[in-house]
Symmetry: C2
Amino acid sequence: MEFQALIRARYSCRAYKPDPVPEEALKRVLQAAILAPTAANRQPFRLIVLRTAGREAELRRIYKADWLAQAPLVVCACGIPVETWVRMDGKNYNDVDVAIAMDHLILAAANEGLGTCWIGAFDPAAAREVLGLPEGVEPIALTPLGYPADAPRAKRRKSMDELVKWERWS
Amino acid sequence: MEFQALIRARYSCRAYKPDPVPEEALKRVLQAAILAPTAANRQPFRLIVLRTAGREAELRRIYKADWLAQAPLVVCACGIPVETWVRMDGKNYNDVDVAIAMDHLILAAANEGLGTCWIGAFDPAAAREVLGLPEGVEPIALTPLGYPADAPRAKRRKSMDELVKWERWS
């Protein structure tokens, strides 16, 4: 799909069909994430792909919404701060790197006609336990991955005047 | 451009032609950033677009590379943590939100044939001063924006086996 159409087609999908995600489509979606740029090319992210079948109760511990496990797959984007590039003032760019990779993944999914939903409001302690994350690996965002059973809504956004400034802050 | 081709076409461009960025192209690039999803739709980011002409010395204080001011425009993506959604454990999603918007902007630029380069290694104190950022507004990433005068290089990435895990961490 052409990029400008694609970003308009992407939406937060909250109902999924049980249809499986074709293996080739999944591979293209994961490859898109891998091609994402990261600070100093450190690639300090990992993607955990899990099949939801039989894990509905575990998933409900992580995020209390039935539609998460409706999708056949869930992806959790994790960060590894100690592997991440750090700015001169000590700012760690892990969240930035993980978000770029996840954004690529989510746009690539929309490009395949797959639904996704950025989820940050999960229980991080439950995610750590269910996914078996070792110390130093941080769960940053989840998304279901499957074919949509709902329809896009119009995007509500602030105006360009509000979000864009020219030359300097004021 | 088709999305899978687009993410392969995007690269860190470090030499720019002086040619101006057409106003309509710039508008589409900024609009793409505005359409980015953010946690709870808070949109806690601001984009500062600056014309480099006459500001070369200021830009060199922010980032010590001559190619930054070769491009006719520079965009600084800023975050506003106090306007940002916060996870139950206190984690602030500002860096994630800013990165998604900047990723949209950078991909939209590549879609227009424009070069960009994610820059995190700038001097944040100099950026605050030159851009006049008030307290509470954080500079997260910069990019030049202009027509490329160099050529893409092959992307070096870790393998899918290294970056993707199945079902749980191990």
